[in-house]
Amino acid sequence: MARPDNARYLETHEWGRLEKDGTVTIGITDFAVDQLNDLTFVDLPEKGDKVTRGEAFGEIESVKAVSDLISPVSGKIVAVNDGVDGDDFSALKKDAFGAGWLIKVKPDNPKELDSAKSRADYEKQLAEEAH
């Protein structure tokens, strides 16, 4: 799966992408989906909720573990992907950067995304973690 260049990445394997309408779409990377592997449950917030940069907005569970979902920006949630919430993971597994998005946020400050990693830096991190 090609990771998009126009997204920014967190060390904790979430991605955020500034859309043309000014919202930020947030999800987890294909690497995270692959590592979590046997997914069992996703707990997402509701539309209208606030998220804070660097803090958990939900969690994702697999047979092995529970992981926090970290937001790359602060702001207000304008949409939640109902196709992922709960226990249907086909969209996440097939298309982590598309149909498998998790939430859309109206950011307080879209510049916050800049402090996240570029695709190249994120992939450098993955390469280092593999050794």
Binding site: N37, D43, E46, D49, F57, E61, D68, D87
Partner: protein, 375 residues
């Protein structure tokens, strides 16, 4: 991080590698579900080289081991294996261990990877006054487990071991892939028939590759720590650090059968007798849980809204397709049919459906899974 001689093999197979008790180990190669099913229906290969293997010899070594363990070494037949606990003076479990009795000459203890330094130190501290030699052969040898109903067929193809004659919890030595004196035991940690092979470290990669090659027609494949955990939990086998810890007595974990209180003496016997006489406060139970969410170690077990117990292990059982767990609950509630509640408040602020936030757990008999034909 420490690694086994099979690291390159795991990486070649595309395994997801994790830090397990300080060891760089494969957690999955494909996914838990597939690897679990393979072991229940065909045969799976596990790298268990990270476990500690301590070899005891010397005039007093049997007496010494009988001082350290809860089961009875002296009465073991040559080639027999027994499960046991090593306890501290308070009756708490230091580790759970397999004892291999090689007649009067020698004994091997196989200990958990995470407890290797601790058990080694414990042995050194207790040996005063005994004529005993202890060798750590962990790093000179590697260990591969073959688990599943096709294990014997696979071993028959590659060795001269008489698998019909080798009974459960017995070991022998045989030639495997032309290598003589490979230690072969009919043991495992999955609830299936299976064998564990101990071979010189330098031979490990060759064994691993060839077992996969030869086993292909039998449906063999590698299996990681993820499946190892779901398999052992279904089979009701304890995992040190979950069902057993230094503050847990084996009677509380339901391991009475491995504790020989009629034995003359062993470290922790007096404390265990006292615990038994007083009556157990907590006991380990199996839980079957309605719902989708998996309770995790340390999570509260509630009854009538009050915390009464603690989860030891939880998973989604790949074989039963149900959420299962083990938990320590008050002894007077450790009865099949007793119901408890588990709460999952959630990190997301979405109002979770009531059934997602609160699930009912029902005590069921352990193990959750018994292989067909086994009593």
């Amino acid at each position: 991080m420490q690694e086994t001689p099979l690291r390159a093999e795991h990486e070649r197979l595309g395994a997801r590698m994790v830090d397990f008790a300080g060891w760089y180990m494969p957690v999955t190669y494909t996914n838990i579900m597939e690897e679990h099913r393979r072991v229940r229906t065909k045969v799976g290969l596990f790298d268990v080289s990270h476990m500690g293997r301590y070899w005891f010899t010397g005039r007093d070594h049997i007496k010494f081991i009988d001082k350290l363990i809860t089961n009875d070494r002296a009465s073991m037949a040559p080639g027999q294996i027994r499960y046991c606990l090593m306890l501290n003076g308070q009756g708490g479990a230091l580790d759970d261990i397999l004892v291999y009795g090689a007649g009067d000459e020698a004994t091997m203890l196989v200990v958990n990877a995470g407890n290797r330094p601790k058990i080694w130190d414990w042995i050194q501290r207790q040996r005063k006054g005994f004529v005993v030699d202890v060798t750590d052969m962990s790093t000179d040898y590697a260990m591969i487990a073959l688990q599943g109903p096709e294990s014997a067929n696979l071993l028959n193809k590659v060795s001269d071991v008489d698998t019909k004659a080798l009974k459960y919890y017995r070991f022998t030595r045989g030639t495997v892939f032309g290598e003589p004196e490979v230690l072969v035991s009919r043991t495992g940690y999955t609830g299936e028939d299976g064998f564990e092979l101990i071979m010189p470290q330098a031979k490990a990669a060759h064994f691993w590759r060839e077992l996969l090659n030869v086993g292909e027609s039998l449906g063999a494949g590698p299996a990681g720590l993820g499946a190892r955990d779901t398999l052992r939990l279904e089979a009701g086998m304890p995992l040190y650090g979950h069902e057993l810890e230094e503050h847990i007595n084996p009677l509380e974990a339901g391991l009475d059968w491995a504790v020989k209180l009629e034995k003359e003496d062993f470290i922790g016997k007096e404390a265990t007798v006292a615990i038994k006489t007083k009556g157990l406060e907590h006991k380990l139970v199996g839980l079957n849980i309605a719902g989708k969410r998996i309770p995790r170690q340390g999570q509260d077990v509630l009854r009538d809204g009050k915390k009464v117990g603690t989860i030891a292990s939880g998973t989604k059982s790949p074989w039963l397709d149900e959420i299962i767990a083990t938990a320590f609950v008050p002894a007077n509630m450790a009865e099949v049919g007793m119901s408890f509640q588990l709460e999952f408040p959630g990190k997301g602020t979405r109002a979770l459906k009531p059934e997602e936030m609160r699930q009912t757990a029902l005590v069921v008999p352990l193990p959750f899974y018994k292989r067909p034909g086994k009593k």
